[in-house]
Symmetry: C2
Subunit: 154 residues, 2 copies
Amino acid sequence: MTVIDSNPVKSPPVDVCVVAGTDHPRPDGQDRYTIREVAEYTGLRAHTLRWYEEIGLMPHVERSHNGQRLFSNRDLDWLTFVRRLRLTGMPVADMVTFAELVRQGEATFDERREILEQTRREVVTRIAELQDTLTVLDAKIDFYAGARRASERD
Amino acid sequence: MTVIDSNPVKSPPVDVCVVAGTDHPRPDGQDRYTIREVAEYTGLRAHTLRWYEEIGLMPHVERSHNGQRLFSNRDLDWLTFVRRLRLTGMPVADMVTFAELVRQGEATFDERREILEQTRREVVTRIAELQDTLTVLDAKIDFYAGARRASERD
DNA sequence: TAGGACGTTCAAGTGCACTTGAAGCAAGCG
DNA sequence: CGCTTGCTTCAAGTGCACTTGAACGTCCTA
């Protein structure tokens, strides 16, 4: 599948469907993760995480005394949400726009809501399309299955 | 019933994989379309249609006396199906593989059915993911709608 | 103190699915 | 006849979302 895989992310003993930034238990109880840990947790590659930061898709990520990234639980929440948005087909550029609004604070609540409402509409449309596709696939599968039965007198 | 008024003079379902066609009205009642008409009908660009043929994603397309492509209703059905498959996220390369199986005739019915069944499973998964995403979006939209005074979150 | 694992930056490369361009032929119209 | 429109082929270019590579730094264990 081209459109972002539904990667079997090795899932920690945790629910991933984060809704808001509330406290979710994480791989361990802490709040500081290396890029490697985050890569494992999110299913994204370390390079991709750095690239996300570079293009402005991540809020500021802390650094350790020697310059290594230290991701927080909040970062994990954000990445989980980003992964969901990607899943809907939203382009990375649009997510960067959204991230910028988040950085601008509460003043952009309305704008953010509008974006998410638009995204919601697109997701609904997409689900409908996929359901239609399911119908088409079923018809074809039936056809092939029927043709097979018809020739089962060999 | 699943469609296809395509061929007025149609014989038994012995042939290609044209089972579920489209419910779109055809440009007219005929069976010969220029690349431009097909582009308009399918929403694909003429160049893309030529490229599809080039990579083996189209069955043989007829040509006029002077070399211009003449698409048939069957070609239109195929393109509609291709569009659906693309919608599911299936890579073009995989669709080419499927097209090759179609070219090989009835002997590949089973294999084709398996591919479509796999695709079906993927579509079902994707729909579930999108529905989860809807839940997440709704929660965030509610948050933004309900919180004018709340402290900043994400 | 040497090795290896893991991290860093900057830059170039990859794969996919088209998209655009260049050059040319053929038909139809004023 | 010349012009426009619309097709043809072959080839190179584009945009997106990473991905890979090179060169180097730092920490831990042996």
